[in-house]
Amino acid sequence: MENGYKMTKIKSRIAWVIATFFAVAAAIVAITPFIFMVMNSFKEKFEMLTKGVFALPDKLDFTNYIEVIQGNFFGYFLNSVLVLAVSLIILLMISAFASYPLSRFQFGMKGLIYSAIVACMSIPVHITLIPIFKMSQSMRLYDSIWALIGPYVAMGIPISVFILTSFMEQIPKEIEEAAAIDGCGKVRMFFSIILPMAKPGLSTLAIYNGVNMWNEFIFAYTLTQSQGNRTLPLAVWEFKGQYSMNTPMIMSVLTLTVLPMIILFVFAQDKLIKGMTAGAVKG
């Protein structure tokens, strides 16, 4: 009996050692490219090739970073922030508007409208690309960051309405009834009761949609053209043309584009993770 117990104990110890070994291996695979990026971003143009990729840089040299920032980096950054802020505010506002009647009212066509909105979740954006490209040209929005607002908001609507509707459905009916007895109309009900109670859902969606918009590539690439009107994901593209042979320089640009996400991760890890996986309710 005691022998058997010992055996299982040894077995489980061995299992843990093996599992930890794989865990460490996975961690190395996960962070090596990242370390490669950060470490080489501090090197000089030829240092990387002469010293080897994994050698530590000679000194903590911010020359690359300074050069990148003195380039047009802030332009891209500012464009990204602007597009993000405007799109996100519009998206959250109108999604909350739409979710209110879908979750709390009874009216004809409700089911149809809801399904039509939610069905848009699995539509590949590529099918909308050519018409939106033509549309932004005829609306004279082409090659300005304002061309991105419409597609970005539309892209986020299905999931946002889906999540907010199920969120608002959980708010107890009694609260609403009590307010109605006090003479609160439907519109005021939304602003003074439902919207404040939906705040947690809104903050999760802000992160989910915010990360998507911050990283969005295909619309930004298609609908803008000149350097001054492009967003951060395209910055690397431009810098690559400029410094094609200077790998450390590209690595500093990459590190800078990832920096906002790292900061967010350090200060609000749980919220970020929760927000980023919010989209997983699809299907």
Binding site: A19, A23, A26, A27, V29, A30, I31, T32, P33, F34, F36, M37, L49, G52, V53, I94, F97, A98, P101, L102, F105, F107, G108, K110, C120, S122, I123, P124, H126, I127, T128, I130, P131, I132, F133, K134, M135, G150, M155, I157, K186, W214, N215, F217, I218, T222, P233, L234, V236, K240, M251, V258, Q269, I273, T277, G279, A280, V281, K282, G283
Partner: protein
């Protein structure tokens, strides 16, 4: 009196409809302008031979669609998408479960692993694409450097048509495995601690607990993870476009990269629209079919 009641109810319903219409209007208008109209328009444009600029495109009916059916490049791209899809599901989800299970069993001690494993998620697809073009380069890349250290030669994974697609799939796995890890960790928190304790009291070991209790309870989580991974792989674009542009010799061409190059590099927007439409039909069909199977099985149980 009764009549009054009816009109009052009707009035109220009319009021409700009115408020609903006002609240729904912005969302509906935006979806029509940016999703529904473009879909219809794409199918309309697919009936023309059009370079995207000329003001009188030539109507060719189903010409583009016939071309699409016989276009080897498109079907190669579709097959590549299917390979990405199958391998992504087979690699990322099991790894995600394994990582989540490790974190779950090891408890607080494993938090550091969770953090390190999550790091790839912080980068955008575009940034990852660029990073790996350099990390996998023959000159000063990670793999080649390791190979040289052990006395080998440069390894050009992305330049070789035989390995390029699998390399891309590997990078995609690097990017998205953490997502499924976090997702399964969340799934585990739904499996209540009581269930685990009860199973331990009944004498189940960790393996038995995992196979017979946790895994069945994680099933809904895994099911939506699979659908998510599937739809995502079929419309994959950013990373591949940045890393290989579909090359070498179409080895990593996907439906989306093919469509993009046709429309915005060759300005063959008529045929590009047909490819986009074909992609839309295939994705809708495959996802409806899968959802039906997965949900049907659930009802049958």
């Amino acid at each position: 009196m009764k009549k009054d009641g009816i009109t009052l109810a009707r009035k109220r319903q009319r009021n409700t409809n009115c408020v609903a219409a006002i609240f729904l209007a912005p969302v509906i208008i935006l979806l029509i302008v940016y999703i529904f109209y473009p879909i219809v328009e794409t199918f309309r444009v697919s009936a023309f031979d059009w370079n995207g600029i000329s003001s009188n495109p030539k109507f060719i009916g189903l010409g583009n669609w016939v071309k699409l059916l016989h276009d080897d490049k498109f079907w190669t791209a579709f097959l590549n998408n299917v390979k990405v899809m199958v391998l992504s599901i087979l690699i990322q989800i099991p790894l995600g479960i394994a990582m989540a299970t490790f974190v779950e069993f090891a408890g607080k001690k494993a938090t550091i692993f969770k953090i390190l494993w999550f790091i790839p998620m912080l980068m955008s697809s575009v940034a990852i694409g660029f990073l790996f073009t350099y990390a996998l380069a023959t000159n000063g890349g990670i793999i080649s450097s390791i190979s040289q250290f052990f006395g080998g030669t440069n390894i050009d994974l992305l330049g070789n048509p035989d390995t390029a697609l699998y390399t891309v799939i590997g990078v995609i796995a690097w990017q998205f495995t953490p997502f499924y890890m976090v997702y399964c960790v969340a799934g585990y928190t739904n499996v209540s601690k009581d269930v685990y304790e009860a199973s331990v009291i009944d004498g189940a070991n960790k393996r038995q607990y995992f196979v017979h209790i946790a895994l069945p309870l994680l099933k809904p989580t895994l099911k939506s993870a699979a659908i998510l991974s599937m739809v995502g792989s079929l419309k994959y674009f950013d990373l591949v476009y940045v890393m290989t542009g579909g090359g070498p010799s179409n080895a990593t061409e996907l439906m989306a990269t093919y469509m993009y190059k046709l429309s915005f590099a060759q300005f063959n927007m008529g045929y590009g629209s047909a490819v986009a439409g074909g992609m839309f039909i295939l994705i809708s069909f495959i996802s409806l079919f899968t959802m039906r199977i997965l949900n049907g099985r659930k009802e049958g149980r």
